[in-house]
């Protein structure tokens, strides 16, 4: 273990009491920094400097085993150009879709009325006609969740809405009190969007400040780029596929940013550890140390993303399957898409950017 090389005066095998006693005094994090050396590189399955890569050959185990033990050998920093190109293409496609296809906004943004009542497919037509006759401009009628009819109409004032409720309850043969109406003014959607944009701006500023203080400003840049990537890709997916955008979508979008950042912080924490005191010794370049960190935390990042995705999958299943529409489904959908994008950006995007920025620093280049 490298510790023995660092302290040539005392060769203590790892695991003995003396070693542990000494380790007790040492700073655990300092040890981690010292531990980021060629041996660690080899363990992670990465080529050390000047190494033709021959050392890796005998150690090839199954991918799962390698992942489990942090030996995946992913060269994220080295392949940063390729990653940038792929990401740029994806982002451009998303932006193009947003510009040309636009979004499918729910009634909360466009304004209008909606009615939910227990019923089934056989009653759909009658209910729809009854609503039209009562004066509503029916935009869509569908059955959701297997047992609920959802009617979307243009804006109605209170009196007209009451008429529609009565007519529709009649047609479906239920009590008027079982109909759940919702009416949203067109300005409400604008209000929500404004608030959301404001929250987003404040969040970004706070994040930059936090990261700059906790780690360093260049890491803040890397994290922000990753966040923007997540935003654009998620919005792009929504636009491409045509999912409905509702206020819950907006909530979810802001949450994704929190998650993605969480993910990125986990990676940056390890990068920070590995690159601490790096200028003091010439063990490896900043980029290599950062890359090593990514590999060492790969399993953790994957686990983090999977574990975050599992409950969301549950939400999606219930939201889409049982309820059909509403808060749960919208939220779950956007979180699902966003978490996947977030995982990608934390692992593949954030660190290479920081490494590239760092390598321009004169002291690192030396």
């Amino acid at each position: 273990m490298s510790r023995e090389q660092d302290r040539p005066d005392e060769e203590l095998p790892v695991g003995t009491e003396a070693d542990e006693a000494r380790a007790a005094d040492a700073d655990a994090t300092g040890d981690a920094a010292a531990a980021a050396d060629d041996d660690a590189l080899a363990d992670a399955g990465l080529p050390a400097e000047g190494d033709a890569g021959t050392r890796r050959a005998p150690r090839r185990a199954s991918l799962a085993h390698r992942l489990y033990n942090g030996e995946a050998g992913l060269d994220v920093v080295g392949r940063s150009r390729l990653i940038y190109k792929v990401t740029a293409v994806v982002v451009l496609v998303c932006i193009a879709s947003m510009l040309f296809r636009g979004f499918n906004f729910g009634i909360d943004f466009a304004g209008g009325n909606s009615f939910r009542l227990p019923g089934e497919t056989s009653q759909l037509e009658q209910v729809r006609e009854a609503a039209t006759e009562a004066g509503a401009d029916v935009a869509s009628a569908q059955v959701v969740g297997g047992n609920t009819i959802l009617l979307r109409t243009g804006g109605l004032d209170n009196a007209a809405e009451r008429d529609v409720i009565d007519a529709v309850a009649d047609a479906a043969g239920i009590d008027a009190a079982q109909v759940s109406p919702e009416s949203v003014s067109a300005e409400w959607g604008q209000d929500i969007t404004d608030q959301a944009l404001l929250a987003l701006a404040v969040f970004l500023v706070a994040v930059i400040a936090f990261l700059a203080i906790r780690f360093q400003p260049k890491m803040a840049v890397g994290a922000i780029v990753a966040l923007l990537h997540d935003l654009v890709v998620t919005a792009g997916v929504y636009s491409l596929i045509g999912f409905e955008v509702t206020p819950s979508t907006v909530i979810g979008l802001l949450t994704i940013l929190g998650f993605s950042l969480y993910d990125t912080v986990v990676v940056f924490d390890k990068v920070d550890e590995n690159t601490r005191d790096l200028s003091g010794s010439a063990r490896m370049t900043w980029g290599e140390a950062a890359n090593l960190a990514v590999n060492q935390t790969l399993m953790r990042s994957i686990n983090t993303s999977v574990i975050a995705l599992l409950p969301v999958a549950g939400l999606l299943f219930v939201g889409a399957g049982l309820l059909g529409v509403g808060t749960l489904k919208d939220l779950a959908l956007v979180l699902f898409v966003g978490l996947a994008a977030g995982a990608y950006s934390s692992i593949f995007l954030a660190t290479p950017i920081v490494a590239d920025l760092k390598e321009r620093e004169p002291e690192v280049q030396a």
């Binding site: 209170n158 300005e187 969040f203 819950s248 909530i251 940013l257 939201g319 808060t327």
Partner: protein, 563 residues
């Protein structure tokens, strides 16, 4: 050994204490044992009104608060139970009415107009709970005093005072022209489906009158119309003439006590133009009644005692509460605010129950999936994760109940979604810890020494990452409106509680478990699969390490969890 044992016990003890205190509070004080449910889970109506000022700015906080109080009075006046009116952000007022009869709450979005109109004829007692046919206008539905349809001058007909705000007798003036005052039907306006009120006037002289169907919930009558209006409590009806002064001319109104008699009065000030109009009118109409109508209903109909050039004093049998209420209502008329109904949502009780069920199922599925994954990936360590998640749930539930009691926190569907999402965050902190543990073990440490070292490194990461989540939740909560607030609150709450569980339970538990060597080396612990000492190309060195490792098992080592 003794050194290390104590801290774990201390942490466990602290944790148990916290849980015990919380549940003790729940069971031994107060009455609620379950969290408060929001309206989208209980069923009810939620109406959001957005206030707008003429120049498009946000209203002043005091104005918004005043408006909120007035609307609250109006909501309570409808008679719905447990209605709640709160402000949200700096422009919204949210009215929440549980249950299935929140229809009327939707009406409150209409703009309230305050007007001053002369009372024509005598106020007549309205018939309680009377619904009559509007198509027969001459059919007076006032059984008590024989409403005389075409008798304009009932000079000494003194009606019962309405709400204590009619200070003197309504001795009408005989100056009202022949009006077909047919005693407009006045239903207690508690029933929104009652037939519309109609009024017939002497057609020739009141051709401009157009208010044939009037919903007295909102003042749709034009200022120059004659209207028939009810008093606020629905016991008296009035025939009113055209508007003398609009409520917007009011500069201020306040309640105070008469210096001489000590009785409560309401003081009213008009602005410049209003004052002169008022002065003229009062000078010309001493002895007649003026009605203040709000929302098309008469809140007060005092008699003019004399010409008023400056401040108006309204006397009557006021007590402090009624004086302040009237003053508020008058001031409200002066508010430069209009309200628009931004959203109105009614959830039937069945739908609410269904959504609650769906939310709980989603939570259960999410937790089950995480459990399965934890067991598959971490084996026995997964049990530690599961135990921690369960304890998190216990603490979260207790907080929900207590918060519901203390600050009236209600759990909405978005809130449930927030908790479900935070399952991921909570589980993640364990992942961070366990992966660090694997790192340490990979470096060749024994489990016992790996745990505290892993903890020191993991702790920093967990704190940074949770700080980020909390920051996101806090910003969302502070800035957002509507559902988002509930979501952000539960997200932030779970992040904080996650820290509590990880610090006080998970880590001490790991420290305790680490004492069992079998735990670290068993194939089932999830740690046994970790490669140790791969770097050893020399099999002898590897064997030495194993031996040495075995030998150190019995020694006491320092507890580094305090590091």
């Amino acid at each position: 050994m003794a050194n290390r044992a104590l801290p774990a016990r201390r942490y466990f003890g602290a944790f148990v204490l916290i849980v015990a205190v919380m549940y003790g509070l729940i069971f031994f004080t107060g009455t609620d044992r379950t969290p408060q449910l929001g309206l989208d889970l209980r069923g009810g109506t939620t109406v959001t009104l957005t206030a707008r000022t003429p120049d498009g700015q946000a209203p002043a906080p005091e104005d918004l608060e005043l408006a909120r109080q007035i609307i609250e009075q109006r909501v309570n006046g409808i008679g719905v139970a447990e209605a709640e009116v709160v402000t949200e952000g700096d422009t919204n007022i949210v009215i929440s009415v549980p249950g299935d009869d929140g229809e009327q709450a939707r009406e409150l979005g209409q703009t309230a107009q305050l007007r001053f109109r002369p009372v024509i004829g005598a106020p007549e007692p309205a018939a309680p709970a009377e619904t009559s046919d509007p198509a027969t206008p001459s059919d007076s539905a006032a059984p008590t005093d024989g409403a005389t349809p075409s008798d304009p001058a009932a000079p000494t007909d003194s009606a019962a005072p309405t709400d204590g705000a009619t200070p003197t007798d309504a001795s009408s003036t005989g100056s009202a022209p022949a009006t077909g005052s047919d005693g407009a039907v006045s239903d207690p306006a508690l029933d929104p489906d009652r037939p519309a009120v109609t009024q017939e006037e002497a057609a020739a002289q009141f051709a401009t009158l157009t208010c044939s169907t009037e919903d007295t919930r909102s003042e749709v009558a034009r200022p120059d119309d004659f209207v028939a209006a009810c008093s606020e409590d629905g016991t008296t009806k009035y025939l009113l003439g055209p508007t003398i002064i609009e409520g917007t001319e009011i500069a201020d109104a306040s309640a105070g006590t008469q210096q001489t008699t000590g009785e409560w009065v309401v003081l009213l000030d008009f602005n410049g133009e209003g004052r002169s109009t008022w002065a003229e009118y009062t000078a010309a109409n001493v002895g007649s009644n003026v009605a203040f109508t709000l929302d098309g209903r008469v809140v007060s109909a005092p008699t003019i005692q004399g010409a008023i050039n400056g401040q108006t004093t309204i006397t009557g049998q006021f007590d402090q509460a009624s004086a302040e209420e009237l003053a508020n209502q008058l001031r409200y008329g002066a508010l430069p605010l209009t309200f628009e109904q931004a959203t109105a949502q009614s959830i039937s009780t069945e739908l609410g129950a269904e959504q609650l069920r769906a939310g709980l199922i989603a939570g259960a599925i999410g937790i089950a999936l995480v459990f399965v994954y934890a067991l598959v990936y971490y084996r026995l360590l997964g049990l530690v994760m599961i135990a921690s998640l369960l304890l998190s749930a216990v603490v979260v539930y207790a907080s929900l109940v207590l918060l519901g009691r203390e600050i009236g926190f209600t759990l909405s569907l978005a809130g449930i979604a927030g908790f479900i999402v935070s399952i991921g965050i909570t589980a993640d902190s364990f992942v961070v810890y366990f992966e660090r543990l694997k790192d340490e073990i990979r470096e060749g440490r024994s489990l016992r020494s790996a745990v505290p070292r892993a903890w020191v490194r993991a702790r920093r990461t967990i704190l940074s990452a949770d700080a980020v989540s909390f920051l996101a939740a806090a910003i969302l909560y502070w800035l957002a409106i509507g559902d988002v607030k509930g979501f952000a609150f539960t997200l932030g709450l779970s992040t904080v509680l996650d820290l509590v569980v990880v610090f006080l339970f998970t880590h001490p538990l790991m420290a305790v478990l680490a004492r069992f060597k079998a735990f670290g080396q068993s194939r089932f612990s999830g740690l046994g699969r970790v490669d140790r000492s791969r770097r050893a190309t020399d099999p002898m060195a590897a064997a030495e390490r194993q031996l040495v490792g075995a030998g150190s098992g019995g020694r006491a080592t320092q507890d580094r969890s305090q590091a």
